[in-house]
Every structure is written in C-alpha cells, then in structure tokens.
Symmetry: D3
Subunit: 69 residues, 6 copies
Amino acid sequence: MPYVNIKITKEGNVTAAQKQQLIEGATELLHRVLNKNTATTVVVIDEVDTDNWGIGGVPVTELRKRPAE
Amino acid sequence: MPYVNIKITKEGNVTAAQKQQLIEGATELLHRVLNKNTATTVVVIDEVDTDNWGIGGVPVTELRKRPAE
Amino acid sequence: MPYVNIKITKEGNVTAAQKQQLIEGATELLHRVLNKNTATTVVVIDEVDTDNWGIGGVPVTELRKRPAE
Amino acid sequence: MPYVNIKITKEGNVTAAQKQQLIEGATELLHRVLNKNTATTVVVIDEVDTDNWGIGGVPVTELRKRPAE
Amino acid sequence: MPYVNIKITKEGNVTAAQKQQLIEGATELLHRVLNKNTATTVVVIDEVDTDNWGIGGVPVTELRKRPAE
Amino acid sequence: MPYVNIKITKEGNVTAAQKQQLIEGATELLHRVLNKNTATTVVVIDEVDTDNWGIGGVPVTELRKRPAE
C-alpha cells in the first residue's frame, strides 16, 4: 500500500520505458525490503522544469550552463 | 485552514466544472467533519500523465491497453 | 486510482471515527465527480503541530492566543 | 539538506529571474535561521493552473472574475 | 538531483537498517535508469499512522481487523 | 495564496521562535518576489527523523557519525 513520489528535472528525453522501469523498480524495492503488497503500491513521477528546480541556491537551468569542473 | 492535495491521472476531459466540484466537495468535507473554516481551506489538484502514474508496478498507460477482465 | 492528501493542524482531539469520515468522504467525492474506482483510491491524513503551520506569516500557535475578533 | 516546495498559481508571467530569486531566498532563509548547508538545499517550484487551485471552496479562476472588493 | 518521497504505514517494526535499504535502493534505481547523480539524490520516508491512511474508503486500522480472505 | 512546504531533519532543538522566523521569511519572500497576498500564504514545516532522510544513498543518522572531512 505504499505511495512513492519521484521528482526529477525535465531534461533529456525520459522515455515511457524508463518511467516504467522507475515504477517497477520502486514497487519491487518496497516489496523486497518491507514485503509490501505490490498490487496496491502507487508510484507517481513528477517532471519539473529546470527553471523550477534549485540546488545550492541556483536554478538547474543555470547549473547546466556552467563548464564541467 | 486545511490543505488538500488531490492527485488524479490526466485522462478523459476533466472540466473546470468538475474541478470546481472537487474543490467545493473537499472544502465542505473538512467543514462537516472537523468544523474547519472554509474561508482558508486550500485545495490543489494535480493531473498526472498516465505514463507517470503506476499501480501494481505497471504504468496506467499500459493498464488502459489491457482488455477489461 | 486517485491519491488524496489532507493536511490539518493537530488540535483538539481528532478521533479515529472522524478520520474515517474524511477517508470515506474524500473517496466518495472522487467517485461522484469523476467516477473514480473507490477500491484503489488512497487517502493520507497528515496532522501538523500548530508551531509548524503558519498562515499570514504567523504560526497557528500564536493565532490561537489572540482574542477572537 | 532541507527540501522546500513552493506552490503558486500559474498567473501573469513568472520569469526565470523571479524563480531564481525564490530559489535563492528560500535557500538563504534556511541558512540564516537554522544554519543549514546551502550546497544541499533543494527548492522545487510548482506552478498550478488557476482551475486546479481553490480557496474558500472556489477555484482561483472564478475568484479572478469577481470585482475587487 | 532527484527527490524521492516514500510513504508507508507505521506498522510492525521498520528498522533503521530497512530504511537504509530503501534509501540505498531508491538512490540506485534513479542512477541505474536515468543516470542521476547519487550524491545529490534525496530520499525522505514518511511513516503514517494506520488511522490516517485509507484505501478503498476504509482506514488501514479497520482493514487489519478483518479476517484474511 | 502560495503554499510552502519546508522539510528539515529533526536535529538539535528547533525552537518555536525559529519556526516562526521560517514562516515569516517564506511568506515575505513570496510577497517580495511575486507580490503574493501574505494573508493567505500557508507555510507547513515537516521535521523528519534522521533515520528517514537520506542523501547520497546514506541515512543522515549515518552521515552524522562520520568524522568531519
């Protein structure tokens, strides 16, 4: 019966197949670790614009412009 | 002062009138059960792409392709 | 398949029966308005300490000390 | 290491510069008040359609049509 | 940079070691599927009282009292 | 009308006064940057056990045991 919310930045091309792997993987993880019922496990993926996600006080849009260290 | 978040899959055509019914209904529910002040009750509805919602380890997009049991 | 999250302040004595009414009511609301399957609707209630909830820039703990207007 | 989620209605034209100010401001706030490490503070901004946000039981779309009091 | 929130019911005795497995597993999942940077992946686990979690319109507290089918 | 959710680890002794500063600060931030109405801005603070928060695949409880680098 767990509920899992995965938030990622909307970058590159996340395919439906990759989302399916996230849904399967998160559901299996809860089953493996806590023996949760897979049938009622819910996974919701949010894709967030890079302007709307910040880390270290800087939007990801800006981080992506910086040269790799 | 409650905050209610309703997450649904983005399917069919959820109209503005239906969303209004959800907002009204959730606000009334909190008032009826807990006597909460309707004036400051906030309701936020999230519509989630069917690729991004999984149950039972399967994306809703895939579930909708299966024949009804 | 909806997911509903209800956040309320932890005040008074919210009983298990009242929580049950919130769970039933939210589940019915989604069924009535959008014909959602009640069997897979999930409702999660969060009770938040009044120190941890603010409105108008003021914690609810402080609001409750003010004389009624 | 804090996580801050800011939900606002999708109205007017919220610019990337304004979002950057929200990200900076929230990160600084956690540092100033609780001495949190800014490097690992995450801020996520959600912009919500006015049909999908209600207060006082009324969608914001409807509130915006009403004459100012 | 992903953020993962795992909500489970507060039942049995979920140990710190099991929580560690959830944190590791979710972090690895995002790395394996989307090549996300593990260093900045955040996982937050919420344990919810069984009175406060409902499925099918029924609190989990009540579901647990029912005889197994 | 914004809604701000601040999640922090439950460490040290976060006082009611500090929580009040977070509530005030977040409310002012939204007003300053986007001219949002402070009266209806809601801030909710969640304090999360260090066993339940992970970064880099490691629970904060474990991170705190490590010698400073």
